[in-house]
């Protein structure tokens, strides 16, 4: 087996591990997200749709509107992760193809890397965050930074594909056991809350006569 084939195989195995372990964790909670027994006042489905769309906009979410820098950095970081994973995927299936797309993805990864470093600095510099952060927070941050940096380095021809795939495999191995598993739990948590608030008629907010919602920004 050539080094390239071996790294691709390892990457595939790590991806399977990550997906399988996350799926197993989700399966353990199969009974936890339950429909309200009480007669609904609204629509759980409409609540879920709202919860994953408008409710996440800065106009509706103080974690975004009151912290535009951190919120913006978070968005850029996640876009960067998506771009980096795409680069890793392309490196395995079409290493010579899609040069323009690869360049664009590298740009997004670079911005994501800057955001990732910014969020790490924020965590280190903010006392309440620093106090409650276990090593996992820093490991997760650095793992993502590693993924972003290595995919960027690959696109800049500084890192061979096999090395990128090995590093990405390392990150994927950590995903289901540390904080990065929020990539799956985010959907479960927001879905659970939104379904419940939808059934209760809280989500989406009703059309109002007079007196706005008045979210203070």
């Amino acid at each position: 087996m050539s080094p390239d084939s071996a790294s691709r195989a390892l990457l595939g195995a790590a991806a399977l591990w990550a997906a399988g372990a996350l799926a197993f964790q989700a399966w353990r909670f199969r009974g936890a997200v339950r429909r309200e027994i009480a007669e609904p006042r609204g629509s759980a489905l409409a609540g879920a749709v709202y919860g994953f769309t408008a409710a996440m906009s800065p106009a509706r979410k103080e974690s975004a509107s009151r912290h535009p820098l951190a919120f913006g950095a978070g968005i850029l970081l996640h876009l960067g992760v998506a771009a980096s994973l795409s680069i890793v995927f392309l490196s395995a299936v079409a290493p010579e193809g899609w040069p323009r797309l690869g360049a664009a993805l590298a740009g997004v990864s670079a911005v994501g890397l800057a955001a990732c470093v910014g969020l790490l600095v924020r965590r280190l510099a903010t006392a309440p965050l620093r106090e409650m952060s276990p090593p996992d927070d820093y490991i997760s941050n650095l793992a993502v930074a590693l993924l972003l940096a290595s995919s960027l380095a690959f696109r800049l021809d500084v890192l061979p594909a096999a090395a990128l795939q090995l590093l990405a495999a390392l990150v994927l191995l950590y995903v289901p056991v540390g904080k990065l598993r929020h990539g799956m739990f985010f959907f479960l948590a927001r879905g659970d809350l939104s379904l419940r608030l939808g059934a209760r008629g809280v989500y989406p907010p009703a059309a109002r006569k007079g007196g706005g919602r008045g979210v203070r920004r």
């Binding site: 964790q25 909670f29 936890a32 997200v33 339950r34 309200e36 027994i37 009480a38 007669e39 006042r41 919860g51 409710a55 996440m56 979410k61 103080e62 974690s63 975004a64 009151r66 951190a70 919120f71 978070g74 903010t126 006392a127 309440p128 965050l129 106090e131 409650m132 952060s133 276990p134 090593p135 996992d136 927070d137 490991i139 056991v177 540390g178 904080k179 929020h182 739990f185 985010f186 479960l188 948590a189 927001r190 659970d192 809350l193 939104s194 608030l197 209760r200 008629g201 809280v202 907010p205 009703a206 109002r208 006569k209 007079g210 007196g211 706005g212 919602r213 008045g214 979210v215 203070r216």
Partner: protein, 443 residues
């Protein structure tokens, strides 16, 4: 000493068993999703009024989640320090009591504004359940639950006391309205509605009950109080003592059956509404035979149907509205009270923010029954006090007796010259009694 040690060991053992029982439940999902971004602080009234790290919602989540992680995650079991997983011991249990009973009212505002969408309240309630099973509920709260279970209501109002109060309120009501038929019915089988009140209305705020009786009469509603179960509150909900909460819910349904009522109407009470309307079916494991409705929904419907003749000019004071968290953010009742107030107040102004974005007054989560956290409770009400001040209102409509107690205290502390009133009291004041038909419609 040995018995103390034994008691502590028993408490810990019960707590660990309860913690394990939470592992596959809803709260564990939310515990597993927190990224500790710390963007939640400004959405929490307690953190904003006392910005210490321990009051940050994410810190409270972490305080609970770290114990869960220790027992139910791979790295938590094998490399606890790496993921901040901690063993739950006697000292940790004590510290957890303050975190989940004294630093969070479970208002849920941070959840709506969380970057992930964590139900922080579900996590806090899971931890309260663990502590309650370990016998570590704060004394004031535990006593109130016990009183409610033993006497049928949280203030130990006796049947005789209720009948006497109802009798003199009936006399007052008839005299004030000029309608002999206006009264407070008690234990009347065949009434369409069983009405539940906060026992404070019987003991300390009879005008609230009198107003409700007047409104029921003006609307021609057939209703009754019950001496067996009159209480709209459910302190089992606050303590997260599920068996007590279920028992209190079951008693009301049995009494409604006994009296032949086809609807239970709940007096203005945030957690009472949430308990009976939303959590009760979960505690009982089935949907109740008859509906639970807030009196706010009933008043809204009666006014929409023109069943109550009113003269809004009688209420010229600038009036604002407090949104109780359990009624609005967790109960979905935000518009009925507004519909009513717009009809009965000449000048109604909104607080900012409002509805599901309202700030907790600080009196939620059973805080009023836990004296040890009183100082923080009052301090955390400062945001609500500023909201009220900014409206310039002279009257604050407050559809929750718990919140009303807190608002009375914080407006006094902050020197606000406002009157705290139930919505039903404001409606009662504008009823045009000359146009009331005086017929009681029977089902």
């Amino acid at each position: 000493m040995a018995s103390d040690a034994e008691a502590r060991a028993r408490a810990l053992s019960s707590a660990l068993a309860a913690l394990d029982a939470e592992a596959g439940r809803q709260a564990a999902i939310h515990m597993s999703a927190c990224v500790r971004c710390g963007l939640c602080g400004q959405s929490c009234h307690i953190y904003r009024s006392e910005p210490t790290p321990a009051n940050l919602p994410a810190s409270k989540v972490e305080a609970v989640a770290s114990f869960h992680r220790r027992r139910h995650t791979f790295l938590g079991r094998h490399a606890p320090r790496l993921v901040g997983a901690r063993d739950l011991g006697p000292r940790e249990l004590e510290s957890l009591v303050e975190t989940v009973f004294g630093r969070c009212t479970g208002c849920g505002r941070c959840s709506l504004h969380c970057s992930i969408g964590l139900d922080v309240s579900a996590i806090i309630r899971a931890a309260r359940r663990v502590l309650t099973k370990a016998g570590l509920t704060p004394d004031g709260l535990r006593r109130t639950v016990r009183t409610q279970i033993e006497t049928g209501n949280q203030m130990a109002v006796t049947p005789e006391e209720l009948r006497e109060t109802a009798a003199w309120i009936s006399d007052e009501l008839a005299g004030e309205t000029g309608h002999e038929g206006a009264r407070v019915p008690v234990d009347e089988a065949g009434s369409r509605v069983l009405y539940l009140v906060n026992p404070r209305e019987i003991k300390f705020f009879p005008l609230s009950l009198q107003a409700a009786a007047g409104v029921f009469y003006a609307a021609g509603e057939s209703w009754t109080l019950s001496t067996r179960t009159c209480d709209v509150t459910n302190y089992g909900f606050y303590a997260v003592d599920d068996s007590a909460a279920a028992e209190l819910t079951r008693r009301v349904l049995e009494e409604a059956d006994r009296l032949g009522a086809s609807e239970v109407v709940l007096s203005e009470c945030g957690h009472g509404f949430r308990s009976f309307r939303w959590e009760g079916p979960g505690w009982l494991g089935e949907r109740p035979r008859i509906p639970f409705r807030s009196v706010l929904e009933r008043m809204d419907a009666w006014l929409a149907e023109d069943r109550i003749p009113i003269d809004p000019a009688r209420n010229a004071a600038v009036t604002t509205l407090h949104d109780p968290c359990n009624l609005v953010r967790w109960g979905g009742i935000s518009e009925p009270q507004r519909n009513v107030l717009r009809k009965i107040c000449a000048r109604f102004v909104e607080m900012t923010p409002n509805r599901a974005d309202n700030f907790c007054c600080g009196g939620g989560g059973g805080m009023l029954s836990m004296e040890e956290f009183g100082e923080r409770r009052v301090r955390s009400g400062s945001i609500k006090a500023e909201q009220i001040r900014a409206t310039g209102a002279r009257v604050v409509a407050c559809p929750c007796h718990n919140c009303a107690d807190q608002l009375l205290e914080i407006t006094r502390v902050h020197g606000l010259d406002v009157e705290i009133r139930a919505v039903v009291e404001i409606l009662y004041d504008v009823i045009d009694w000359r146009r009331v038909r005086g017929q009681t419609l029977r089902s």
